[in-house]
């Protein structure tokens, strides 16, 4: 059962009705990602990156097609089952952090385990310490910088030790220096075995991922031809381009 790829997205379509017009957010999306990958998803605005992440994370369900995570078909789960799936397997990181403004940093990290009989309080503290927020635990998000908020959000995403981290424009609202730190953190998490998917416009972020796919108009335009590991790694051509840019900058 676990022989297939870790994530398998098969001919997924998703339409949104906006009044009298419909948007094909995903249009025959095919994708395979192996466990332990760190993949950047790039593409123009409106190409379906967020929609794709939402589908893989079980936040939304496709109109047609299937999504398997570790051999389990999540596209056919009902909302209750999807909530359970999200809680146990997925950590979400968002562009606008999505913290709860009335709660402290530590409380925000503990939100996902609020109903647990014995909430892993120490784990929350350790995660925040690891994020370099040891003396910010009692602060509400309004008193934290963008980078600090995002690190609180990362700690929250890790509280249930998920196998999959989905980050949607994680550095879209923070300065490039902090963005670099966040990406290093992602790399560390990936080294620890977490599968990471990052939707991003930021080439620096994308360049530091282990592989990249490009989406346009709701389907993959590059990275679909899989390498042995199921993913296309940055082509030599792109690596050269990247180097040039670094030299120039």
């Amino acid at each position: 059962m676990d022989d297939g790829p870790f994530i398998k997205v098969d001919s997924v379509t998703k339409r949104y009705n906006m009044g009298h017009s419909t948007v094909n957010a995903l249009n025959g999306m095919d994708l395979e990602i192996e466990e332990g990958e760190m993949v950047a998803i790039m593409g123009p605005s409106g190409s379906g990156k967020t929609t794709l992440l939402n589908m893989i994370g079980g936040l939304d369900s496709p109109d047609s097609g299937t999504i398997h995570i570790k051999g389990m078909e999540i596209s056919s789960l009902n909302e209750g089952q999807r909530a359970q799936f999200r809680k146990n397997n997925v950590g979400f990181i968002f562009q606008f952090f999505n913290l709860i403004p009335s709660l402290t940093a530590l409380e925000n990290v503990l939100v996902p385990v609020m109903f647990d009989k014995d909430p892993p309080f120490e784990r929350g503290v350790q995660l925040l310490e690891r994020m370099g927020l040891k003396d910010r635990m009692g602060h509400i998000p309004g008193k934290l910088s963008g980078g600090e908020r995002q690190r609180v959000a990362i700690a929250r995403a890790l509280i249930n030790d998920p196998m999959l981290i989905l980050a949607d424009e994680p550095t879209g609202n923070i300065d490039s220096e902090t963005a670099r730190e966040i990406v290093s953190l992602f790399k560390e998490l990936n080294d620890e075995g977490k599968t990471m998917l990052l939707a991003t416009h930021d080439r620096i972020v994308a360049g530091r991922a282990r592989s990249m796919i490009k989406v346009r108009d709701g389907h993959v335009v590059k990275g679909k031809a899989h390498s042995r590991s199921g993913m296309v790694h940055l082509s030599d051509e792109e690596k050269v381009k990247k180097k040039k840019r670094v030299v120039k900058g």
């Binding site: 936040l59 939304d60 209750g80 968002f94 999505n98 409380e107 939100v111 109903f115 909430p119």
Partner: protein, 224 residues
């Protein structure tokens, strides 16, 4: 660092404190409503059972005791004609019903606005893996907290206020300065708790049940 208390109850509490103006509005609305309903129901009780005769001095008869049993307070002259008695019963019942419905409407509206402002938060809770049932629980705990505070406020502040207001209005100042201490009978205490929770939990449930079931993606896309 001490292990902080963090559970659905403290979660709700922190929100009630943050939105204290709104919390207070709801508490005042419910407690005054419940106090008024306590007054009308004790009157109704008195009228229906014809308790109290002229030798038991009640408010309506113009004497102000220092402490009163609400069942015995608002006595009516047993000489009251059948027709007057029935009209009074109808009047009290309809007034109570209207007051209850208006209070429910205000509560529902306040809750609906609160929920609208918290759509994004509901979306976040859904994203991190809570079921709709668990989120419903969070909001009902909040509603119950508002309800319990309102109930206590109704018994200790609202009812003395309403009863004294009624007494002053009836006396038209003839009694000078006085303070009536209402003694609420146990039956009414139980019924008032039920009415309070009906107002707070009922309006919470009605305001939350539809938004809570929308898709998490739609909830999180909310811009506020």
């Amino acid at each position: 660092m001490d292990r902080p208390m963090f559970n659905p109850a403290t979660y709700s509490m922190s929100h009630l404190v943050k939105e204290r103006t709104r919390s207070l509005t709801m508490i005042v609305t419910i407690s005054l409503t419940v106090a008024f309903l306590l007054l009308t129901s004790s009157l109704l009780f008195g009228v229906i059972n014809e308790i109290g005769t002229s030798e038991k001095q009640g408010l309506l008869q113009g004497s102000i005791p220092g402490s009163i049993d609400m069942f015995e307070t608002f006595q009516l002259d047993s000489e009251l004609s059948e027709r007057a008695r029935n009209s009074l019963i109808n009047y009290l019942m309809i007034t109570s019903l209207i007051v209850f419905l208006v209070a429910f409407f205000i509560m529902y509206n306040t809750m609906a606005i609160a929920v609208k402002e918290r759509r994004k938060e509901i979306g976040i809770l859904r994203a991190v893996g809570f079921s709709t049932g668990e989120i419903l629980k969070i909001f009902l705990v909040e509603g119950a907290m508002i309800g319990m505070i309102s109930w206590i406020a109704a018994l200790f502040l609202g009812t003395p206020f309403i009863v004294n207001l009624a007494a002053y209005l009836i006396e038209r100042g003839d009694g000078g300065i006085f303070f009536v201490q209402p003694v609420i009978p146990p039956q009414l205490i139980a019924i008032s708790l039920a009415v309070t929770l009906g107002l707070s939990l009922g309006s919470t449930y009605m305001a939350i049940i539809k938004p809570i079931r929308s898709s998490p993606v739609a909830l999180m896309r909310t811009r506020i």
